[in-house]
Symmetry: none
Subunit: 236 residues, 2 copies
DNA sequence: TAATGAGGTCACGAGGTCAC
DNA sequence: GTGACCTCGTGACCTCATTA
């Protein structure tokens, strides 16, 4: 039985093409292969910084967070469609897409996956696979990515402005952390911007980034948002 | 009756989320779940090396004491706030927190818990649960941990300097071991440092680490300290 | 017996390396 | 700067000795 073999190849969606695993996997297994990189569409080598991605995008994101230098301004107004063939041409858009896809230093997970997680991974990968999407749907998802990027950064900035204890507070489990005494202007302004919140709700409800498997960092954003008093009374 | 089921899930504080037990518990039980890991806040899987902790911190500590290699120097001056998402980034601080939480090879216990022990566990877990702590109290506890770590190592060094029989001597019950002929400079200097001792007393009195269930090794430190002649006439 | 945690196992990904 | 490849720390799950 196929899923019985049970490693990351099995639990994630199967593609006809063969991906490159990090190590010497290619030759020594029948390797059912991984879904493609969420950023550029190249063959992925696993889940990096919380997102199914290729070695290139993984390394790129690593360098970004390590040396946090400013990118050259995008020549197309920040709307490049990142693909394998052009990913090297616009670092700014590539980075934005990394973030929008859910890449985050806070999303790294090490060690094995739990059985439950594996099953969830499999379901998610299948549900949101390219195969189940039309070209239009894919395009819409790409657009969502850009909006999502903006919202994520907004909320993160707001969070950082209101939390002295920096990033560790994002962590689950338990209550999403939000200091009672810290309802700053930043949060308030966000709370009062109805459009942005409707948008947020909409995206969180429909997008493929909701699952904590594919992007725990976004899940954390949701948790944080939920923890805000009076945050639109998010029911679920 | 709830507590009647009587295993470690029952006697410790119940959380709404589900933890991962070591084995295949997840599916086959209603498992009331454990308190979170005292080191990183992740779901715990039981009491390891004397401390309620997760599989990750358990394995980490095991590796630490097995291969006793030196850690890379902490980049934040040894003051990292260890959390689930960043626990992998600073082994030094993680180890410090393990020790400060009471983890010790001398705190291992095997086999079942007695009824009395279970009830004690339950009471302690409930008393010191996150639910009964404000965020400020938690922060204060974290600060205590760092101070505690320093004191523990100080006392241990002092102990080792005065005890030929190495570490096994920490074990209780019976008289805490202290060689009459070995009142070294190290001990003396400790004894004469009023601030440190007041601090010690204060922490031992107020902190959640006092119980021998959650951290027998710290209990041992107290016992050892008590056994020192003229050790501030510790009444309790 | 049943409960429980130490120790072992090995899939997994972060980070480093270096030809390009 | 990029990315294919490597090393190694990590942690979910397992077995097994130990105890009530
Ligand atoms: Zn890619
Ligand atoms: Zn661009
Ligand atoms: Zn932990
Ligand atoms: Zn540190």
């Amino acid at each position: 039985m196929f899923w019985g073999a049970a490693d990351v190849f099995d639990i994630l969606l199967v593609y006809p093409e063969c991906n490159t695993r990090q190590s010497t996997f290619i030759s020594d297994k029948k390797s059912p292969c991984l879904p493609c990189c969420r950023i550029c569409g190249d063959f992925s080598s696993g889940i990096h910084y919380g997102v199914v991605s290729c070695e290139g995008c993984k390394g790129f994101f690593r360098r970004c967070i390590a040396q946090k230098k400013v990118f050259a301004k995008c020549l197309k107004g920040g709307e490049c469609q990142i693909q394998k063939s052009n990913r090297g041409r616009c670092p700014e858009c590539r980075y934005k897409r990394c973030v929008a896809s859910g890449m985050s230093i806070h999303s790294v997970r090490v060690g094995r996956y739990s059985k439950r997680q594996k099953i969830k991974n499999q379901a998610d990968a299948e549900r949101f696979s390219d195969k189940n999407c039309t070209a239009d749907e894919k395009l819409a998802m790409d657009k969502n990515d850009i909006v999502l990027y903006n919202i994520i950064t907004n909320v993160m900035v707001a969070h950082q402005l209101t939390c002295q204890q920096s990033t560790h507070e994002w962590d689950l489990p338990g209550e999403a952390c939000f200091h009672d005494n810290a309802s700053s202007l930043a949060i308030t302004s966000l709370l009062n911007n109805d459009n942005e919140f409707d948008e947020l709700l909409d995206i969180f409800t429909t997008s493929c980034f909701l699952t904590d498997v594919l992007s725990p960092s976004v899940h954390n954003v949701v948790q944080f948002a939920k923890s805000l008093q009076g945050f639109k009374d998010l029911s679920q």
